[in-house]
């Protein structure tokens, strides 16, 4: 494909719809890019070239006017794709080939999108760096010695490096927004239930949500209109009608009230992050938005609450990996109990074991009330903080991550320190709220920084409108890393 300016999903869709370029050409260009860059960045665990080209030919023939016509999409490897291996980056699911598609996959394909392949992540989406993948870490395209963020790191790398204009991730405690922030792309965690979870390999069912990683808020809006909506296969998918999110993007933030939880920024936030954040606030102020200081008194308890609730749910969800129906089974066992134990011990990596252990502990007799039930009560207080804030403001703005990307290997020995980096992202999951991360700057040594907006339930239109207006003004989204390959 000669037209290298086609970097956004919207541009690709428009070019395919008008016949200026064919879906086949788009897909061939994407695979050429993957061929030249994936070996150094490890974003994709599997590609599905034949299926993609077949789909592209069909789109060129029959579906050129579809809302995502010819748009290549990278899929996080914890989302089931019929006929394409889906491992959740775990040894226990190595070689698992799902016999069905997740609802989001059918919706993308019906809208004309083309699945390129499956992206690396932390094992079962448990982590913030993709270092917990059984298949090696993804590398940050801005500097391959640095983490991509996680857990949807491969999806963020694929978009940031130009291998895919659009990707799906899942976000349980920040796993879409944090890698988007660290790789310099846009990431949206929708309201809990906005996008069906059928076919998502469950980590923590009351927190998990699928969403898009994209180059722009506009692309995220187009994708969300395709992904969202009720699903007979997911009883928790919301019944709320799905608006045309792109039509909410007026480019205006005048009159919007943005809440700033200044107390949360007082310690532990990198100076480069604070600098970009305060600069972004000035952009909003200059465009006529009103900045209002707010308090989220229980936000400081969000990490503790999250790691109790999420691990409890994980310990239950991951009980299904037992070597019977799918995945890995340990050899040379004498009876069923030994088969379970050896299979799980050999199949799960260290972080997954750690979380299963923690979750089992907080649910066990004698500790349930003190930990799990207590955490659920604190979760209510965290939700109420946001409900009160949204009486005064239309969205809450803060950094996505307290630091830019750190070096691969730097924090693997200290799980608690790594958990603490989720401070700005976990609350949105605990409260079920939508949150968007957009690029808002680069550190002096050129590592991306992200700005996060959190909104009322189902108010993705306002978040996307703010993100789009910001991106129109600042162009940080258009910065690309210099990836050799």
């Amino acid at each position: 494909m000669s037209d290298t300016a086609l970097t956004t999903a919207r541009d690709i869709r428009d070019a395919v719809s008008s016949g200026r370029v064919s879906a086949v050409e788009v897909v061939q260009a994407a695979f050429a890019r993957i061929d030249s860059t994936n070996a150094s960045l490890n974003a994709f665990l599997a590609v599905a070239a034949e299926r993609a080209l077949e789909r592209a030919r069909t789109i060129d023939r029959e579906h050129r006017k579809a809302p995502l016509a010819g748009v290549p999409v990278a899929i996080k490897d914890n989302i089931c794709t019929r006929g394409i291996q889906t491992t959740a980056a775990s040894r226990i699911l190595k070689n698992f080939v799902p016999p069905y598609d997740a609802t989001v996959i059918s919706r993308l394909e019906s809208a004309g999108a083309i699945i390129l392949g499956k992206t690396n992540c932390d094992e079962f989406a448990m982590g913030s760096s993709t270092e917990n993948s059984a298949f090696g870490p993804s590398r940050n395209p801005w500097n391959p010695e640095y983490i991509s963020g996680g857990s949807s790191g491969g999806s963020a790398v694929a978009v940031a490096s130009g291998m895919a204009p659009l990707a799906l991730g899942s976000d349980t405690g920040g796993s879409i927004r944090q890698p988007a922030s660290l790789c310099g792309v846009t990431g949206l965690k929708p309201t809990y239930g906005r996008v069906p979870r059928f076919g998502l390999i469950a980590f923590a069912s009351s927190l998990d949500q699928i969403g898009p990683l994209a180059r722009t808020a506009h692309d995220a809006a187009i994708a969300l209109s395709v992904l969202a909506g009720a699903d007979p296969l997911d009883a928790t998918a919301a019944q709320e009608p799905v608006p045309d999110y792109a039509s909410a993007l007026t480019g205006e933030v005048r009159g919007l009230r943005l809440g700033v939880p200044r107390r949360m920024l007082e310690q532990g936030v990198d100076d480069s992050v604070l600098g970009c954040f305060y600069h972004a606030l000035e952009v909003f102020r200059a465009r006529g938005a009103e900045l209002i200081d707010i308090e989220l008194p229980h936000a400081k308890y969000a990490i503790a609450t999250y790691y109790i609730v999420a691990t409890a749910e994980a310990s239950s969800n991951l009980a299904r990996f037992d070597g019977v129906r799918y995945g890995y089974r340990a050899a040379g066992v004498r009876d069923l109990k030994e088969m379970y134990e050896k299979t799980r011990s050999e199949g799960f990596g260290p972080e997954v074991k750690r979380r299963i252990m923690l979750g089992t502990y907080v649910l066990s007799a004698g500790y349930y009330d003190a930990y799990y039930l207590k955490a659920q009560r604190v979760r209510t207080l965290i939700r109420r903080d946001y409900e009160q804030a949204f009486q005064k403001v239309d969205a809450v703005v803060m950094p996505t991550s307290p630091t830019p990307a750190f070096k691969i290997g730097e924090r693997v020995e200290d799980p608690l320190q790594l958990y603490l980096t989720d401070i700005f992202t976990v609350s949105a999951n605990l409260a079920g709220l939508p949150a968007l991360s957009v690029p808002c700057g680069l550190t002096p040594n050129r590592l991306p920084i992200g700005l996060q907006m959190t909104g009322r339930p189902f108010d993705e239109p306002t978040l996307l409108r703010i993100g789009d207006a910001y991106e129109r003004d600042t162009k940080w989204w258009a910065e690309m890393p210099n990836v050799s390959g």
Binding site: V97, P99, Y100, Y192, G193, S206, P232, A235, T236, A238, Q239, E240, H298, Y301, I303, A304, T305, Y307, A319, G323, V324, R325, Y326, Y328, R329, R334, D335, L336, K337, E338, M339, E341, K342, R344, S345, F348, K353, R354, I356, M357, L358, T360, Y361, S364, Y371, L373, K374, A375, Q376, R377, V378, R379, T380, L381, R383, L416, L430, A431, G432, F458
Partner: protein, 99 residues
Amino acid sequence: MAERLTRKDVDRIATLARLELSDAEKDLFVRQLTEVLEYADQIQAIDTTNVPPTSHVLSSTPVDRADEPRPCLTNAEALANAPDGSPQTGLFRVPRVIG
């Protein structure tokens, strides 16, 4: 409030979770899980009297679909990923249950 997690606790939890841990893993988890639990203990100080627990954040009641027969996986599809599936019987095979 959590008294230090002991090696015995780790053994007990591993049994409940059906995990077989090496001695090195047990030592590591005693230390790391203690650290996480000590950090998590800060929520004990919050007054949650009369605060109901949040188990989910759904805005509306989950909706059941109509209970009608519809296409599902075939037996062969369901067995295709099994480590030890038996196409002849259509069953998953497992090692003996009673030792």
